[in-house]
Amino acid sequence: MIEIRDLRKSYGKTEALKGISFEVGDGEAFAFLGPNGAGKTTTIKIMMGFLRPDSGTVRMFGKDISVYGKEVRKKVGFLPEEIGFYENLSVYDNMDFYARLFGIPKLERSKVTNEILDQVGLSDRKRSKVKELSHGLKQRLGIAQSLINHPDLLIYDEPTSGLDPRSSYEIRELIKSLLKGGVTLFLSSHLLYEVQQICDGVAIIDKGRLVKRGKIKDLIKEIEGHLIRAKITCLNLDAEIVDSVKKIDGVKVIDSKDKTILVEAKDEEMIANINSRLVKMGGKVSKIEYISPDLEQVFLKLTGDNK
């Protein structure tokens, strides 16, 4: 569905992309991760034809977007990170304009627009001017406009950015429901739990380079063998006890508050060592809970070294 080959882009002397390559398969729910300034939005802007790469190619549906951009965009639904509409026009008029650009005939245009507005829960606001909508409703309209052409590929850049928890949840559920229709998703997000809930494939970029590409579950398995996280509950935890744990070689204290201490260690034996040390210090250990690694740990491990 998407093939990116050796993509490079510089802004003046700053190299935003240093030759990234990856592929996204048909029907895949793909996450594109990276810290701020890693090059995610630059990659997406090149994919959409807003920026021209210094070198490299982007192919979508088997076609080079620098030559067949207009043709390719007929099958793509796009939601940018910074979304802007024609604020003085109504919700319906904005949708109608985008539908016209896809050449959708008048009767069908009205039907499709109403259906999609209903799907995203905006049908009762269709006569409202866009400037009267809240951020959450604008984001829904953003998703609505991305569906107007019944796309085969959705490219979403931070779709829940700036939304309250309820709106974020609703948008995530909406995206999940869209995926059931077999559409391919290219999702750029910094919310790792969101990505873990929606996507199966992932590419992680950092400082303009691709760090990892694979299935989320495979990446988690990969680091599972390296590090173990455990949450230890100690009834009389104090600063002295925490300091003594910090001094154990190969142990990293991630967090400590109230009666719990979150640690990262190489293996279970190390966790047992921590337990012994705590008991020796007079600590009353009541519980040791192992935590499975998640995408956040994968992400931090892969991008942390370069900090």
Binding site: R73, N88, R100
Partner: protein, 271 residues
Amino acid sequence: MKVSPLLIWEVSRKEIYELIKTKRFVIFFVLYALIFLLCVWLSCYLNPHLTKEHFLGVMKNIHSIIYIFYAILPIVLSYDLITKERVTKSIYLFLSKPVSREEVVLGKFLGVIIAVLLILLPVLTIGLIIFSAYNGIPYLSDTAKFYLHSLVLLLVCSCYISLSLLFSVLVRSSLTSLILSLLGGWWGLEMVYPLLSMYSLYNKIPSDSWYMKVAFAVSPLNNFRSTLEMLTAGHNNNFPITMEESLVALLIFLIVTLILSLFAFRKKDIV
């Protein structure tokens, strides 16, 4: 460059729809209508000896008085055609649709031309009606000439629209685009000929030299004044170029600025 006329129309349709809802459109419509129609009424009211034979002469005089409008009006309606899309970020959704950048530029250009026409045509027609009410209906040939000259007027406005569109493509801020369009596009081009005329006085450069002609022809408003002779079929020796040369100059100005806009927007990175 392969463009779809249908998509150009869809873009221009949206542009007109958006533009006619703006305050500046309403303000300039009312202002132009008031000034033009007041001039027509005053001409008729203050000159009881006017007859329908004087129709074109009266219209020529009014156009020569308010000619600055034909630069300011198109500039005010078009200085932010692209910059506004970039500032409000609506350009990302716009360009993510199957529309080429050429279609965007041409659609926006056409949209403002139609918006300008929506202002000019009713006002000029009401002016004709007011004149007819006082002095009788002008000859058909004069009326035809009047409307034919309105096409030249539209061509002049198109030149300024195209120039503002070019600045709007090149710069990031709407204010910069407005300043460049007004100062550079209108006032700057207007100043070339008088400055060179002053220079030629002291350096004994013949007034009919080719560069004096070019200095005059670079300003669409100069060409507009020159083409006003079309209305009375006279020849004004004050202008260094003929009416026909002015028409050619206007067309060249329009084509060059429009091609530059198309080329610049095509190459532009939308950051």
